[in-house]
């Protein structure tokens, strides 16, 4: 028994070692490929907004880049992304460097969840003082099958589990109640 366990432990350790050894030291992540840009003026700061996919479609994610003229050094700011269906402005998020394009701010692989107009509002602070500006973007209808179908497919395991538990419940009812 002990020998068998030791053998199994050795096998597991070997598999784990092979898995780790097979991991590439540096994985190739897709570079940010901007295919379309828009301009927005946030007070004294012109910002170039870049998109890795154009036109925008709801639910379809993409890279956004926000590049103020003169670079991001010495500047900070916030971004809100508010759909037209929402009456109040969405939560402010700090403008952060794009993880795969560190010289600009950005959002890595982010989707606009709703179809329709969205307002991107930038509030910047820098050497020329504070500034604010907004860009309106339109998200077209989402690609792919209807979301109702997608969600129906996604919940099949839950339905199966509930059905199984219901059958097991019925079959064990008498024994469970008898204690």
């Amino acid at each position: 028994m002990r020998v068998r366990l030791r053998r199994q432990a050795t096998l597991l350790a070997t598999v784990a070692g092979l898995l780790l050894a097979a991991t590439p030291v540096a994985q190739a992540y897709e570079p940010v490929n901007i295919v379309h840009t828009e301009k927005v003026q946030a007070g004294p700061y012109p910002i170039t907004v870049g998109f890795s996919t154009w036109p925008l479609r709801a639910i379809q994610s993409l890279d956004f880049t926000f590049a103020p003229d003169g670079g991001i050094e010495g500047k900070s700011g916030t971004l809100t992304m508010t759909p037209a269906t929402r009456s109040t402005e969405s939560r402010k998020r700090p403008l952060v460097r794009h993880p795969r394009k560190l010289e600009v701010w950005g959002l890595d692989i982010r989707a606009l969840e709703e179809q329709g107009d969205w307002t991107f509002r930038f509030r910047l602070d820098g050497p020329e003082g504070p500034g604010e500006g907004a860009l309106t973007l339109t998200a077209l209808e989402p690609p792919g099958p209807p979301m109702a179908l997608n969600w129906s497919l996604s919940t099949l395991p839950l339905i199966g589990l509930v059905a199984f538990l219901a059958i097991a419940w019925r079959r064990t009812r008498a024994e469970v109640l008898a204690g």
């Binding site: 994985q27 994610s61 460097r97 692989i109 989707a111 996604s154 395991p157 059958i167 204690g179």
Partner: protein
């Protein structure tokens, strides 16, 4: 699927030390698959929160899929072994995976725990393929609540339910009882992320915390109902605390080590909170201790309403305390009574239902091999 035991090679109880030893490696492989999956999931969530970029072939994803594959292979080995034994006319030991059922007529004979785990693992891989297609169409947006991700999480939970059954079937052995407690705690750790799909639900009740309370209380009461003596709820809560402590350390460490290895920076302005471990209720041991006397009375008197009351108490506490836990962990302002009270009431109502279901599920688990655990 034929849910009757194969008649020609009827299931007979034949528990011997030898069969117990034979059942343990496949059960442990099943459990190891669940552990690998949880490790990958906590790592993946932390990666997306603190580092970012995604492809299908990341190391955390490898852990997630390897975990499911290991569980699936363990289930396959067990089902093929049971099928071969049944065809050879050998007696099947129901403590190995539970009572057996015929699948596709009498083509296969499957211990029910392994059948459920195997189906979950197979469906998991199908959802994985769908997820790959999804990312091709919709991009690699790393959200937890996309349809394929929810399908993946749910099928992972199906596998874990099968794992619980496999260990429960071996409850006459110490490893079976311990494995049942650990499997239930692993399932609780996993379900915490699933409820984030309710993040956008508005209203005075915190839907995420209420749903989490419901699921965790079901599992807490399942653990309590399964164990014929007291302490089941506290032991399960203790295992969840162990999982929380380990992943609290592991997930940020692994995310940063992996980022370092692939040459990616950590995001700006991250708060460093271990995301998935922070979802797990921290006060569960205290809650479990609080309801143990109620459950003791339920056992003593066979009262069916006391587990409902215990579930209501636990549900209210878990749902309300989760808001306070979030405020401490993320340094938010503590939610006011306008949120906490309705959430506690909703938690109590759903907790009552969870208490009823969980207690019953625990008793059903005792019957998974149609024998009573003799331990304790």
């Amino acid at each position: 699927m034929d849910l009757t035991a194969p008649g020609a090679h009827g299931v007979r109880a034949a528990a011997t030390p030898r069969t117990a030893a034979r059942g343990m490696p496949t059960a442990m492989a099943l459990l190891a698959g669940s552990v690998l999956g949880l490790v990958g999931l906590t790592w993946d969530v932390q990666w997306h929160t603190d580092v970012g970029p995604d492809t299908f072939f990341t190391l955390p994803h490898l852990f997630i899929y390897a975990g499911s594959a290991l569980s699936g292979l363990a289930a396959l080995v067990a089902v093929l072994g049971a099928t071969a034994a049944a065809r050879a006319g050998r007696p099947l030991d129901p403590t190995v995976g539970g009572a057996s059922v015929g699948v596709f007529g009498r083509t296969f004979t499957a211990p029910v725990g392994y059948l459920i785990s195997g189906v979950g693992a197979a469906v998991f891989l199908l959802y994985g393929m769908w997820d790959l297609w999804w990312h091709g169409v919709y991009g690699f947006d790393a959200v937890i609540d996309s349809p394929p991700h929810i399908g993946l999480l749910l099928s992972g939970i199906v596998t874990m339910v099968g794992t619980i059954m496999v260990f429960a079937a071996a409850a006459e052995h110490r490893w079976g009882r311990v494995g049942t407690d650990v499997s239930i705690a692993l399932t609780a750790a996993n379900v915490t992320i699933t409820v984030l799909g309710l993040t956008d639900v508005g209203g005075p009740v915190d839907a995420v915390h209420t749903a989490m309370a419901w699921l965790v209380v079901i599992l807490l009461l399942t653990a309590a109902g399964f164990r014929p003596t007291r302490g089941g709820a506290v032991i399960m809560a203790g295992w969840l605390a162990v999982i929380q402590a380990v992943t609290w350390w592991f997930s940020p460490w692994a995310a940063y080590a992996y980022a370092d290895a692939v040459g990616l920076p950590v995001r700006d302005y991250i708060n460093g909170v271990p995301v998935m471990p922070a979802l797990m209720p921290m006060a569960l041991i205290a809650v479990a201790l609080l309801i143990e006397p109620i459950l003791k009375a339920a056992r003593a008197h066979g009262n069916r309403w006391l587990p409902v009351a215990a579930g209501a108490v636990a549900g209210a506490l878990v749902a309300a305390l989760q808001g306070i836990q979030d405020s401490i962990v993320y340094t938010y302002p503590t939610p006011g009574p306008g949120t906490l009270l309705p959430t506690a009431v909703a938690g109590a109502l759903l907790g009552a239902l969870a208490g009823h279901l969980g207690w019953r599920f625990g008793h059903m688990l005792r019957l998974v091999n149609r024998t009573r655990p003799e331990g304790n």
